[in-house]
Amino acid sequence: MTRNINIWKRVDKPVVIVYLLMVIMGWFNIYAAVFNEEHREILDFSQRYGKQFIWIVAALILAVLVMVTDARFYFFFYWVIYGIMIVMLILLFFFGKEINGSRSWFEFGFVSLQPSEFAKFATALALAGYLNYHRQELTRFRIIMPALGIILLPAILTAAQPDMGSTIVFFALILVLFREGMSPYVFVSGLLMIILFFLALLLDNYMLELILTGLAFFLVWLVTRKLKVALAGAGIVLLIGGPLFMLNHSLNEPASYNLIIIITLLVSGLFFAYYIYQKKALGVLVIYAFLISSVLYINTVDFVFDNFLRSHQKERVEIMLGFKSDPHGTGYNLNQSLISIGSGGFSGKGFLRGTQTKFKFVPAQSTDFIFCTVGEEWGFLGSVLIVGMYLFLLLRLIKLAERQRSVFSRTYGYGVMSILFIHFFINLGMTIGLVPVIGIPLPFFSYGGSSLWGFTIMLFIFLRLDASRTEHLI
């Protein structure tokens, strides 16, 4: 019965149009980014812009192939696809070609393939397949663990290449779990951990702890609606912390403020425990638990940062946070990227007129830093257009996902959306100094066959599922 419907009529045209626009704009920007006076022809196949044209044509063929495949194929064979991709990622350790210290590529003659780009849609499919059966039970630990496992397996494999950029992308799929019922505390905890990580590096620990404590009492007031309770709590903390602080101050070798605060919070916790037990105040318990775990977490951040991150990763974070300015070393990319985008001004310097771009001041400007070319040659207007197109695409994908009848299609749609979103946000964010430099491409814009094909297949599988949304997959 699926044979009867015309998928070409039912495919979502706005998404296809935005997709085509992005791919073509990306192509022209690659042309501008690596423009070579001696090869002015955009279809010169010795240049990246010529090659990108081939990748685009191939991507369109792939899109058509994806569309003519029966929607049920993806539903029934998601685990096969996922399995193949995991095997590919494992094979990289044996047959992968090492480029810049990472084994992320297979080389077949003149074509190189990056399996992690394809593993992304495979993981989204596998997650959708799993959630299709277990979605309402995501609050249960036993059900959540396999879902996290599906995400963690490729994440660990890519982390071992090492390719931290791709690893981070897989974690974006946690957003899907959140949508499908995972406890918001887990999700909020995750977000909080990321925010606290940077804040802990940025501020002194005791400052951050004081702020959090203050925030906690504010939340207590919001939750209980009793100002007296919040003030009493703050009073207890001050009653315990004050003398401790004075005592500490009179010592010959005073302990750190940090330690005083931790002790104070733990001791005052006894009083709170009594209050919580008396009043059965679950909200206060949660807030206090968050506060204590945040404080402990903050104290591990510096340790993790110093011991678990590789030195170039540390430097990138430090540069983003402004601790370090090293415009000729690690900070060079970001500095030149900012100059490129910033010098574009309101309306840009014009096509092929970007001096930063033309004279190769930005490294990787056709791949990870393609947005520099947009920012420099098309200015704020062009940049906003790109952000706008992504915003439209992402919201459109959410809309499409929400109209699916099957949980499989909906969760897959959210998976696609999450992966595109994290790529878009991290890529743009790093070029303008909001996010540490993490080398991941801007979907549909960056030069490269693997990423373009990976994103194309990922998007069109969802469009294929959407086109048959009225049918039953089983």
Binding site: G342, G379, I432
Partner: protein, 612 residues
């Protein structure tokens, strides 16, 4: 199956919208609000290469080239573009040691890795020609043409000044100058820097990340060509200048010759001088140190920076003032008994009138005259009379800067009454107290330039133009010096004094300066023998010629030599002859020979050796 968590999509949508807003806000800040990135982008790609202009040329009054330019080359290096090369060959060609090479490379790298800096300054055209063939073997190096000064004759250093690199103070003072620019120092080079320096040009290139030139910016529309500086025509007579320097060889002292009708300086000599070529190019700083350390002070311009007592050459002025103040008439006679009170005099016939007083340089005559000036009953006090006397001197240009082109000119000294009040108390001094002034000794000080100017004023019978060395700069006549300064003394009085000066050279027995006489030109002059605390007397002579329509006025100082008539007078007469006749007659040959062979510096150092 019921979707329990459908509402969570709003949270997700909100998150995406917030993320987009954050991105757009940040983009707005860096692209629209902040300007710094645009400037940084320009700094990245635009390279401004200065096009250095050649300085203007300097000609003498007869159109002979005095100063012109020679090509030199600054070797530039961009450290980021250098790569492995044959350092030994490089050092050999440029005649530097490998240590110097390493040091310079380090300095260049410290200055900037990507921007060019000067590796080796002012390579001569010859070395450059050799090096140029191989420069392709040394990536990252290129040459930038500059111009250096070249002199047609090794003379006139004190007039011309020199050219050096600007220092930080000058860069701060005038934003036109950038590090590495050249600027005129002293003399004409400094006084006419603005005319001579020309206009710098700039070429703007686009460079890529490797500092490789990728073409000119805006097709060269913003480039400007360098414009050569304006030429200068000096009033100096190069032959006369050269001759004067030769005459003054091995002597310390100064000659200043002026064309009275215009104030144009014909020759200005300070001896010992130096070859201006010494202060050109790479050897400049080394030579400069040597010259500074020389005990004979070759860098010191005696012509307008040394203040000497004028001695007897000052007597004509006192005569003029006395005549104008009507305290004497030309026929007023004074007797001389080998001097006047404590001021001694040589033996000569007595009594003498004004003409005879000047001719014989009688000290007694001028002491009497000076006493009459200061004790003039027209004035209520000696101080008032002294002030009047002083005002005449000021009109002659004494005790004040002449405001020539030379910034470091000395004003000399004519003490104000307050000066004497301090030593003798108010009204505590009389004519006799300051009687040395009568014969140009004592506290009075004047530069050779001021003396030459005084001579020119006498030659003009009562006026002068500010002495200057530049006739026209950039085609524009030196209008700065067209002001005629008149002295409030009747020209008839000048004629009387000039008769005395004529007699001093051309008179009979007792004439002090007969050595300066010329057979067919009437030279008027006055000798001076200046006592000074530094050793033997300075020999001084002032003169102008011809008597009617004078063409040259001259002042000559020969330090620590002796009588004015013995040394300064023959030098002055040879200079006058050289200027008026263009050559020295056979009759004057002995004078020339004697003066050229005279070695006062050698004698002095011999004496010094003996003393040790």
């Amino acid at each position: 199956m019921k979707d329990l968590f459908a509402a969570r999509k709003y949270f997700i949508i909100a998150m995406i919208i917030i993320a987009c807003v954050i991105l757009i806000a940040r983009l707005f800040v860096i692209q629209v609000v902040k300007d710094v990135y645009r400037l940084s982008a320009d700094n990245n790609v635009l390279r401004y290469v200065t096009q250095y202009p050649a300085r203007g040329l300097i000609y003498d009054r007869n159109g002979n080239l005095m100063v012109f330019n020679q090509a030199a080359y600054d070797l530039m290096v961009i450290p980021s573009q250098t790569s492995t090369m044959d350092t030994a060959l490089f050092c050999e060609d440029l005649e530097i040691s490998t240590d110097v090479f390493r040091e310079r490379m380090k300095a260049a790298r410290n200055y900037s890795y990507r921007a060019p800096s000067i590796f080796l300054k002012q390579i001569s055209a010859e070395s450059y020609a050799k090096f140029q063939e191989k420069i392709f073997m040394f990536p990252g190096f290129y040459v930038q043409p500059r111009t250096l000064r070249k002199y047609s004759k090794p003379v006139g250093a004190h007039i011309l000044g020199y050219v050096s690199e600007v220092d930080e103070i000058q860069i701060k003072k005038d934003p036109y100058y950038k590090p590495g620019d050249y600027i005129g120092k002293l003399g004409i080079e400094e006084a006419y820097e603005k005319e001579l320096r020309g206009t710098k040009g700039v070429k703007i290139f686009l460079v890529d990340v490797y500092s490789r030139v990728k073409g000119s910016y805006a097709e060269g529309a913003m480039d400007t060509a360098a414009a050569q500086g304006n030429d200068i025509i000096s009033s100096i007579d190069l032959d006369l200048q050269e001759y004067g320097e030769r005459l003054m060889e091995n002597k310390t002292g100064s000659i200043v010759a002026i064309e009275p009708a215009s104030g144009e300086i014909l020759a200005l000599i300070s001896s010992p001088g130096y070859d201006p070529e010494l202060l050109v190019g790479r050897a400049r700083s080394e030579n400069f140190l040597k010259l500074s350390a020389d005990t004979l002070l070759p860098l010191f311009n005696r012509a307008f920076m040394a203040s000497y007592p004028p001695g007897s050459t000052f007597k004509p002025v006192n005569g003029l003032i006395a005549l104008q103040e009507k305290v004497i008439v030309p026929s007023t006679s004074f007797s001389c008994n080998n001097g006047y009170l404590f001021v001694g005099c040589h033996s000569h016939s007595s009594p003498l009138d004004l003409k005879g007083g000047i001719m014989n340089s009688c000290n007694a005559y001028f002491c009497q005259t000076f006493r009459r000036i200061l004790e003039n009953p027209e004035y209520s006090s000696v101080t008032e009379a002294y002030e009047k006397w002083r005002s005449y001197l000021t009109q002659f240009g004494f005790g004040t800067k002449l405001e020539t082109e030379f910034v470091n000119e000395l004003p000399g000294l004519v003490p104000a009454p307050a000066y004497y009040d301090r030593f003798h108390g108010k009204n505590g001094w009389r004519a006799l107290t300051v009687i040395s002034l009568a014969i140009g000794q004592g506290e009075i000080g004047a530069t050779p330039l001021q003396m030459a100017n005084m001579t020119a004023a006498i030659a003009n019978r009562g006026y002068y133009f500010t002495p200057h060395v530049v006739r026209s700069a950039g085609g524009e006549e030196g209008s700065r010096f067209r002001t005629r300064y008149d002295i409030e003394i009747d020209s008839a009085n000048f004629e009387e004094v000039i008769l005395g000066m004529e007699a001093a050279v051309n008179g009979g027995a007792g004439a002090t300066a007969r050595i300066a006489a010329m057979p067919d030109v009437v030279v008027c002059g006055k000798t001076g023998t200046v006592q000074n605390p530094h050793g033997k007397d300075h020999s001084v002579f002032i003169a102008f010629a011809p008597k009617d329509d004078p063409e040259i006025a001259i002042a000559v100082y020969v330090e620590n030599s002796g009588f004015g008539a013995t040394y300064a007078a023959p030098v002055a007469s040879l200079m006058i002859e050289k200027y008026l006749k263009k050559e020295i007659s056979a009759a004057s040959g002995w004078k020339e020979k004697r003066m050229l062979e005279l070695d006062l510096i050698g004698i002095k150092s011999d004496q010094r050796d003996e003393e040790h």
